[in-house]
Point group: none
Chain length 77, copies 3
């Protein structure tokens, strides 16, 4: 059990735990957009814009976790 | 207890933890789409498009975790 | 405490953690389908199609975790 093994554990924890919140959050964003579109299909264009914005901002949290995971995995930190 | 054992733990943690968030998120996406279709069946085509988009973007988080898990498992990192 | 013991822990973690998210997600998919069917029983055929699609795509995340667990358990990785 050396630091090389713990490095792999750390990389896995970063990407695994980092996917929990955004995974749920992105689903909630799209669910809200789909519900709104079913209720008012004429607003599709406006809803799409904010849906993509919400997706990108939620996804950004996972990207940070992924970057930290890759920094650990490839021994940059 | 060597690094080879820790490598297996890390691969399991990455894929296991990575499935939690997207697993819930994909369910929420489909639930929102089904609710909207029940309310407004005429919008099925539009809703299907965004449902598949939401599924794919939520699934992508799990794919990242799976890739990290396989990178660890097959000793690439 | 040898690698053989860690292998068992890893196999258990992969399948156990991997069941959390899809387990909740599949429940949410069926809940949404039931809500929509209760509101609009005439749309049952359409809703059933998407319900099964949603179930299969959510289940796929667990299948990936199960495959990784079996790969670990049977010493393929």
């Amino acid at each position: 059990m050396t630091d090389a093994g713990l490095r792999l554990i750390a990389a896995a924890l970063a990407v695994g735990l980092g996917a929990i919140g955004p995974g749920v959050g992105i689903g909630i964003v799209f669910s809200g957009a789909l519900t709104a579109m079913g209720r008012n299909p004429e607003a599709e264009g406006t809803l799409r814009t904010y849906m993509i914005l919400g997706f990108a901002l939620t996804e950004s949290l996972f990207i940070f976790a992924l970057v930290v995971s890759l920094l650990i995995a490839f021994q940059i930190i």
